[in-house]
């Protein structure tokens, strides 16, 4: 009975990103970096060594001018549900340093337990998991600007987008103090959602009909990245452009022709 109740109460936090609205300005990435104390180096030209929890891809339809079309695709962690919480990364971590929270649907990363084997990075097809190749070094004085709610990560561990989980904790603490057990939609929002000037990112509980994401995910424009792999991501994208929706997954030639 308790298990049933728990399941009924369970949240499934997720995101819907409207790609028709995204301008590729990168505000979401900047806000994410500031919010989550993401380290950077003087030379960030090698993007394969950079850490950005939210990376903005530039997609094109591959057609020549004047038929060229461009789409910017922000990519946070997909917080995959996988099969019964066995998201690709969670099931492989040998030290249980990453976990699927059944109550929120958030895939966490325990920095102090991660020993840097990077198996989770190999498992993730979205490349959302990033390794700290160096210890973080902040420019003079910047350490005073760090977010006290988010621990900085040391060299040799993996990190990734947490859906600003510290904001969830803060909101829950406030709610508990006020004698509540449930959060309003506005009480827990990620930094990228709030920073997007175009309002392209919507965040909330995918299970809650009162939340905007519940309705948006059912849009005929909605799709998820690499759905056919069975990862069951909790980040949805919206686009009215067929080629953008097609770019979200791999298709065989005959399937493309059918579409």
């Amino acid at each position: 009975m308790e298990a049933v109740n728990r399941r009924n109460r369970a949240k499934k936090y997720g995101m819907v990103i409207d790609l028709d609205k995204c301008t590729g300005c990168g505000s979401c990435t900047v806000a994410c970096m500031a919010e989550n104390n993401i380290p950077f180096r003087k030379d960030e030209s090698d993007k394969l060594l950079s850490i950005a929890w939210l990376h903005v891809y530039k997609l094109t339809n591959g057609k020549p001018f004047p038929h060229t079309d461009v789409c910017y695709l922000p990519r946070p962690c997909m917080h995959c549900e996988g099969h019964h919480g066995h998201s690709p990364c969670v099931s492989v971590c040998p030290a249980t340093a990453t976990d699927y929270d059944e109550e929120t649907g958030i895939v966490s990363q325990i920095y102090t337990r991660c020993f840097g084997c990077r198996y989770c990075m190999a498992a993730c097809p979205y490349h959302v998991r990033l390794f700290n190749w160096w210890d973080p070094v902040w420019p003079d004085g910047m350490e005073k600007m760090l977010n006290p709610d988010v621990s900085v990560r040391m060299r040799g561990v993996v990190e990734k987008c947490s859906f600003c989980y510290h904001r969830h904790q803060r909101a829950m603490e406030k709610a508990y103090l006020e004698g509540r057990r449930e959060l309003e939609e506005h009480e827990y929002q990620t930094a990228c959602t709030q920073a997007c000037p175009a309002g392209a990112i919507t965040f909330g509980d995918l299970n809650n009909p009162k939340h905007a994401v519940y309705r948006l995910k059912k849009s005929p424009r909605a799709f998820r990245l690499l759905e056919r792999l069975g990862t069951r991501p909790k980040v949805y994208y919206l686009s009215s452009r067929e080629w953008v929706r097609q770019a979200g997954d791999n298709h065989l030639q005959q399937e493309k022709q059918k579409i």
Binding site: S91, R113, C114, F115, N250
Partner: protein, 413 residues
């Protein structure tokens, strides 16, 4: 100077020659140790790995040496469990090579992790769903078994054997070796398989993912099978190399041919299973995820169909065909060609299952990522080779590794 330590009835090179050999291998070893210390103290930024290549040269080396070291468990299984008595003449060397391979694998793993001091978390916070957890447990236990299997050989050193306690210990250990051989075979089945499972369970990586039975993907069984088939081939390769270097015949042909014959049939079975697996993967598994087989072998400057043909055809079918024939096994040139090709084949298999798997783009709007290891990665990968050479040199010089050596090379008094 050290003639009292050298086994009776055999001849060894002069001390200066031996010392020179150890010094050369030692210099390479020191180079590797320097690179290892750089990685430990400065971090994995010393490598050319990146966020697309979380696994790279080291994990390949790890999987490859464990497969090559499979000669120890399979030869032990044949000798002690199946009862192939002739193999007692090569089992010592198989165990020594296995010991080197497995200790190397553990060392490489210790360098490869970002926080080596937390390595024990894999045991303390073990995730039972992870193939790496199974690898860690079985690998550590089997290394213990290999140490126990190697110990009686060490105790047979002339000086050590003079101590009654060690003499009796060694003698009694020989009697219970079947128990350890069985334990080793059991543990090896699981960790060789788990290493195959490492890529096989990655359901979001279509190049590596395989269906399977219960919790085990087909790669679980293929890895165990290939290690059992190719590990003994590596044992034979190193035996032949040792004979070449020492200029002596160390193991009789009938022993080598028996092991080669069993390997040949194992390899034949494996390669049939591997071809079936590849066809099913290309025709069913990959298309179900939106991929054509050629998506994995095109649109990049390195990985083409050639690697599949090389692994399955030239380094799989060809050596299997040689080793299952009497003529192929009796001709020294074809025998050596076959065992070397089989050893290369299993290494190539591990390469594609680690590096090609990560190189293949999964998101449709990403590209292939190729990688060239840094000198630190190369040096730390060469380190175990130098260590292995030294351990073989020392063991060969001071221990009766090859029981048939005195008979095959009588010393004129």
């Amino acid at each position: 100077m050290n003639s009292g330590l050298i086994p009776e009835g055999v001849k060894r090179c002069p001390t200066w020659k031996f010392a020179l050999g150890v010094a050369i291998a030692g210099a390479v070893l020191l180079w590797g140790v320097y690179a290892m210390l750089l990685c430990w103290f400065k971090g994995l930024n010393q490598t050319n790995m990146n966020n697309a290549y979380g696994f790279a040269l080291w994990i390949w080396a790890d999987l490859a040496v464990i497969a090559l070291g499979g000669g120890a468990f399979f030869t032990g299984f044949l000798r002690y469990i199946v009862g192939k008595d002739e193999l007692k003449h090569i089992i010592n060397y198989a165990v020594l090579i296995g010991f080197i391979c497995y200790s190397s694998a553990l060392l490489i793993l210790a360098i490869d992790v970002g926080q080596p001091l937390r390595s024990w978390f894999i045991f303390w916070h073990a995730n039972v769903h992870s193939m790496l957890t199974e690898v860690a447990f079985c690998l550590s236990c089997y290394f213990g078994v290999l140490t126990i299997e190697y110990l009686p050989l060490v105790l047979e050193n002339r000086k050590i054997d003079q101590v009654p306690f060690f003499h009796h210990l060694g003698h009694n250990m020989h009697h219970i070796m079947a128990v350890f051989a069985a334990t080793g075979a059991f543990l090896s089945f699981f960790h060789q398989g788990s290493l195959g499972g490492v890529s096989g369970v990655l359901f979001a990586r279509p190049f590596g993912f395989r269906e399977g039975v219960l919790i085990w993907p087909w790669t679980f069984f293929l890895f165990t099978w290939s290690a059992a088939a190719c590990g003994p081939c590596f044992t034979i390769s190193i035996t032949k190399l040792t004979e070449k270097v020492t200029g002596k015949k160390l193991v009789k042909d009938n022993v080598v041919e028996l092991l080669a014959k069993i390997s040949g049939w194992m390899l034949t079975g494996y390669i049939i299973a591997k071809i079936a697996d590849t066809i099913y993967w290309a025709a069913v598994t990959a298309p179900s995820k939106g991929f054509r087989m050629m998506d994995f072998y095109s649109h990049n400057s390195f990985y083409g169909l050639w690697i599949l043909i090389l692994e399955v055809g030239i380094c799989g079918v060809l050596p299997a065909a040689i080793l299952i024939t009497d003529r192929g096994r009796r001709n020294q040139k074809t025998l050596v060609t076959a065992v070397v090709l089989a050893s290369l084949g299993v290494c190539l298999n591990r390469w594609v299952m680690v590096l090609q798997m990560l190189a293949v783009p999964v998101l449709p709007f990403e590209n292939w990522v190729l990688y060239i290891p840094s000198w630190q990665e190369v040096a730390t990968t060469v380190l175990p080779v130098a260590y292995g050479v030294i351990l073989i040199m020392v063991s060969y010089r001071y221990l009766p590794v090859f029981p048939q050596e005195p008979e095959l090379n009588p010393v004129k008094s």
